[in-house]
Symmetry: C2
DNA sequence: GCCCATCTCCCGGTCAGTGGAAACGACTCT
DNA sequence: AGAGTCGTTTCCACTGACCGGGAGATGGGC
């Protein structure tokens, strides 16, 4: 992958070195992983430090700085959706005793904008900021089912990544699942990401009635889902109302 | 304020136009508010769109893009502190029935990295991403009391902003309050930001024993604080342990 | 249809950014 | 104490990415 010529491109390539698996890096690692020459990397890092987009710890490791977090907190997904949804997610956790998640669609991914945990609940792999493919998650099935037809066709035409032996990988199976989600008004994701979890997801709509997010709880495999379905759908409607949905 | 000469400086100045009060803006607004010429603004905005750092809606208004939120979610304050603290904050809300907050210090500000709300609790002005001066908040008093002496002296030497008639504005009063926080191991903030709220805050320590955050609940003015003090201190210790504190 | 505001695009000029090389600092080993 | 290694920092001649005024395009309101 060639290094971008533009300065902004280089800065974002540098920032892109950080991930959940690598939340910090040395200067040399940043240079090596971004493909930028060492002195170029040094200059960019110095300026990103000045703008608080990066921080440096006592041992010379760099990590994402507070300023990027603050800027990110101004995104509509955070400032509007997530802040309004939080009280309802807390209700959902309290009522169902399971972990709750809120996700939006970005391309063919579900991006988790919040995850609240319940005491003693089955653990989940996502955290705020995680991405998972749409087809393999409850929230993703809801988001895809209500996405523009073009997005659905693109998803059906793309390789569908397998996570467990039960992950939906056949386009025909996915198409059928999406139709069922639209009929039912919710999705149940059965052992798609891990063999130990179900998830139950429902849509969240905005003032225009568009599905802009999905909310879910994650249950242990084999748990009864009917009460969870009711709770999640109710939560989805409450969040929708908070967003101004009719 | 002159426009920075560096491209990164200009980009951050542009992004700095966005705030909680102004989460979106048109191209012309971005140019006017940042001080950048229109065509310069247009070029920068176009590239920030490409990198998903900005988004544009159907009516031509720009807002912070998902990529900045994702990058920000990788900051230590979010990925390490906030993700680990969330379950304990949820516990605190459930037990005390009050809104809970988690904040870190940045200069002379308390930056709220999380705020969970309780049903029917007194509302609070902060949200994730908000800043308030240290001296005027419970979390801020805790963070300042345990900050390096140089930071404390700087705060004492700086103008102390008044929010209510009870806000601490005299350096001597603040010094005394900080000493008491260190003695007690917690802070009670009495009608400092609004006349209708107290807050009770306790420290959160890292593996090295340093105070890296503070947790609080917000009570209506006049409410008994003793039970809240116990709950908040217990929560602070639990989060500390999750961060590897001894 | 006209006016106005906003947005988009062009392109000659220039200075902010480039990156290899040298110097510096910290650490380890003998 | 000295040598070697590794990572970081600094320098500076060169250059092309960026600059931004101005012309044109677009869309909304009257």
């Amino acid at each position: 992958m060639p290094v971008p010529k533009s300065l902004l491109g280089r800065a974002f390539t540098l920032l892109g070195v950080f991930s959940e698996q690598r939340p910090s890096a040395t200067l040399s690692e940043l240079s090596r992983l971004s493909g930028l020459p060492l002195s170029t990397t040094h200059r960019l890092v110095r300026e990103l430090l000045q703008w608080r987009a990066l921080d440096r710890d006592a041992r010379g490791r760099y990590s994402i700085g507070l300023r990027l977090w603050e800027l990110g907190a101004l995104s509509p997904g955070s400032l509007d959706l997530r802040e309004r949804a939080l009280p309802f997610l807390e209700d959902l956790v309290e009522v169902t005793r399971h972990n709750a998640q809120l996700a939006i669609r970005d391309g063919l991914d579900a991006v988790f904008v919040e995850r609240l945990s319940a005491r003693d609940a089955v653990s989940v792999v996502s955290r705020a900021g995680s991405r998972l493919p749409l087809h393999a998650t409850g929230v993703g099935l809801v988001l895809l089912a209500h996405a523009p037809a073009q997005v659905q066709e693109l998803a059906l035409a793309s390789p569908l990544r397998r996570f467990t032996s039960r992950t939906i990988c056949a386009p025909a199976r996915l198409r059928e699942a999406l139709a069922q989600v639209r009929r039912d008004g919710y999705a149940i994701s059965d052992r798609q990401i891990e063999m130990i979890t179900y998830s139950v997801a429902a849509p969240v709509r905005d003032a225009g009635g568009e599905v802009v997010a999905a909310v879910s709880v994650v249950l242990p495999t084999g748990a009864r889902t009917d009460a969870a379905v009711s709770a999640v759908r109710t939560c989805g409607r409450a969040i929708s109302r908070a967003l101004g949905a009719p």
